[in-house]
Point group: C2
Chain length 210, copies 2
């Protein structure tokens, strides 16, 4: 078993288990046994559990922010000002696409993102902010440009309202969809739900703008 194999097996198992139960609730023994590797391999390859958590985030956030940057470049080069809807669509399409093409589950990453915000893991928040702050600021800046005439503080809060609606809904997508199916007999796919989210979030951002 080569090194890269062991490392990625650990990352695969950790990603699934963290998203399912959270960080503290997932022991290294559970991770290594489902990965089929030795317990000590985590500390050998990653140093500590904290660094493993960061590595899990790095492995999906870096491709995501890279793909988002390319998508924004592409849209900007196509000319014409970007609308709020354009930006949200880009964000969601990249979120769905850049990870799905690796055969990985988009909802899982939304759950991880949600955990990063809500769990008590100071190191994770610091890690994400320092590593991906620039991508965040670029997107937020473009969104602010698409919303002229909105005072900065109002924009700031609405940005978080939008993030909340997105992360919260996507990270509990399975549970919410299950209730929908049970109570209404209807069902939704993830892309359908994102298509509903774009106009709703855009309307929220745009109240009294322009």
């Amino acid at each position: 078993m080569s090194q890269t194999d062991t490392v990625s097996r650990i990352l695969d198992a950790a990603e699934v288990l963290f998203a399912e139960r959270g960080f503290t609730e997932t022991s290294l023994r559970t991770i290594t046994s489902t990965a089929g590797v030795n317990l000590a391999a985590v500390n050998y390859h990653f140093g500590s559990k904290k660094e493993l958590i960061q590595a899990v985030f790095e492995r999906f956030l870096t491709p995501f922010t890279d793909a988002l940057a390319r998508e924004l470049d592409r849209r900007a080069a196509a000319g014409g000002a970007l609308t709020v809807e354009d930006l949200l669509e880009s964000l969601y399409r990249v979120g769905m696409g850049s990870l799905a093409e690796q055969g990985r589950d988009p909802q899982r990453f939304m759950r991880l993102l949600g955990l990063a915000y809500t769990q008590y893991q100071g190191h994770l928040r610091r890690f994400i902010v320092s590593r991906y702050g620039n991508s965040y600021r670029r997107f937020a800046g473009l969104l602010a440009q698409a919303l002229p005439g909105l005072d900065p503080v109002t924009f700031y809060w609405r940005l978080y309202f939008m993030l909340g609606a997105t992360i919260f809904t996507m990270s509990s997508y399975d549970a919410i969809e299950a209730i929908l199916r049970e109570d209404f007999g209807a069902q939704s796919t993830l892309p359908e739900t994102l298509e509903r989210l774009v106009p709703a979030a855009a309307a929220m951002l745009k109240v009294n703008a322009e």
Copy 2:
């Protein structure tokens, strides 16, 4: 030290610590030592840690849903159909008021609510749904009435978008507000932020309605 005293000291400490760090990250020893009571008192009075968690939620959710029911009764009796804004304002005012008048922190309960959704605690979700499902359904029903012409599935998802925006923003309120103060030099109070949230969330719910 009377019984009620020990019980409520444990609940007070657990409420603060759970909201701060989460459930798994808070040990019974931390709770009992900050409460100034013996470790075994938790198992004696509550039976188990799970039941303590449920008791913490019960102590703030019951007054909240009771106050919400009274507020909705009052508004309904005043005559006239309730608008989306009316309902959101009622919800937020009760959330702020009914707990603040007990001298307890509203943001703390938002954090707890957020945790209930995101943390891996099946028993908690079941407990809340079975105990407070009726209050939830009454509010959702009134909101649906205020949004005629909206197909049920779209309404359903937007309800969760709204809950996400609310719970996510409120549960991370301190952190978000701190960044605002640092980057913009501006500051917001919680009531101000809720005043921003009402029209934003209402706009999101109302897209293409009526």
